[in-house]
Symmetry: C2
Subunit: 245 residues, 2 copies
DNA sequence: CGAGCGATTGATTTCTTTCAATATCGGTGG
DNA sequence: CCACCGATATTGAAAGAAATCAATCGCTCG
């Protein structure tokens, strides 16, 4: 079992954040909870020292203890296929939950690693389950979050038959929407992952990702420099690579 | 809103099935519930007349009322993309739940249609949520089922970078495992979907599916006739189409 | 028995990967 | 501060996988 940064929590200064003051609360578990309900949830949540880039929050096979809410930074989750090859299954941005695939399991099924310096809130899974029993709003929200995650995986799956161009365009627009939901710019953002991770996630090679970025840039659909992108025409972007018909 | 077969339930003869006697109970929601808890769940569940092939159980946009447990037959779920093109996001076999993407929503996000004559149990969503509050075992099981669904979508996603050959092989082996879990043959079964639906789901054309079936047959990895398949060598099947390295 | 849909097979085209060669970025140490 | 290094990104050329276009076959159902 891997060492867990949370174990060292005692030695770190407490980080003064709470659900009450959290700007992400409206996107997270506390949605629709009242003051005292939030306090009950709050009591269960642990904060911890920041994770550095490349630090693992979760390793497949580790005993399940927490689900995590991302406060800042970014993560990728991945599976190791039978040949030991990493397959990225998702990226996580602030306000999103990590470890939703672990309910009712003994061990985590997937890995999650920081793509940047990150802060997470750790929510003990069994306490969350208990609280979901006695707080209807939390139960509803939890079920909704799991259900939404299923839908989002389905949405992602719905691009399987599309061209690499369409999949990358949809990916960029998806990132844009997720930043926008948090009040950040929908047109201009910094991607926390590199080209190779994008390719791995979308099912294409790094070279193809790179070529498509160049193509989008040549078509004046985006500007980009390294991990910074600006989407110049989202509608046109989504039309790219469609069958001519 | 689409007409719902359940609405006509009153006029159909009651079908004498119950969670207690259901051979699928151990794979379904009642897992780990005691007698009286099952009764409470049971009271919420409606059975209904069989759905015929091609009948819709759920249409995207319909107001959410139930989640469904499949007793017999088979379903496919799909999304309609912005151009109105059907994208299949999953198949459902007996004991599996349909509509897990609908928790906390006003309207269903996806369509589900019978691939064969089918029987379902309809579970009112709000009642299920309530019961999950007061029955810890049901709550746990419900969370587990949602979480497992997420994991299964991730597993499926983890094949994006693989060849068509590998994806089809994995699909067949996955079907096999699902039949096997119900006590049916892992090596020999009838696929409820046609070639075009397999291709749609896996992100390849019907022609490619057909060619791969032929190739697998030529290699003596399977035998097949129409929708009937027999897997002759699952391990070898999973080795197909791997990069030579 | 014929019509029509689904499945199969073939030939060609297209897209993406693979292999290979730079180019660029970010960090480090002189 | 700048030069150098390794890692990441870009670009090009060739090969390969799957899609497309097209024809035929075989069922099933009126």
């Amino acid at each position: 079992m891997a060492e867990n940064p949370l174990d060292k929590m005692g030695s770190s200064p407490p980080l003064h954040i709470s659900c009450h003051g959290c700007s992400l609360a409206r996107l997270c578990l506390p949605v629709s909870l009242n003051e005292s309900e939030i306090n009950r949830l709050e009591d269960a949540i642990k904060r911890n020292r920041p994770l550095r880039k490349h630090e693992h929050l979760i390793r497949a096979g580790d005993p399940v203890q927490h689900v995590y809410a991302l406060r800042s930074g970014a993560f990728k989750s991945y599976l190791l296929n039978p040949d030991g090859v990493e397959q990225i299954i998702g990226f996580h941005l602030p306000s999103e939950l990590i470890g939703l695939d672990a309910f009712g399991r003994d061990c985590y099924p997937s890995y999650s690693v920081a793509l940047d310096t990150s802060l997470v809130c750790a929510i003990p899974l069994h306490q969350l389950e208990e609280l979901a029993g006695s707080i209807p709003g939390l139960r509803k929200q939890l079920l909704y979050i799991l259900s939404r995650e299923i839908h989002e995986e389905q949405e992602h799956h719905s691009h399987v038959r599309e061209s690499a161009e369409q999949r990358l365009a949809a990916f960029l627009v998806n990132l844009s929407a997720r930043y926008s939901k948090r009040g950040l710019s929908a047109s201009s953002f910094v991607m926390p992952m590199n080209r190779s991770e994008i390719g791995n996630y979308l099912g294409m090679t790094t070279e193809t990702v790179s070529r498509l970025f160049s193509r989008f840039r040549d078509l004046n659909l985006i500007t980009c420099r390294g991990h910074e992108v600006r989407l110049l025409d989202i509608q046109a972007l989504l039309q790219q690579g469609k069958p001519k018909a």
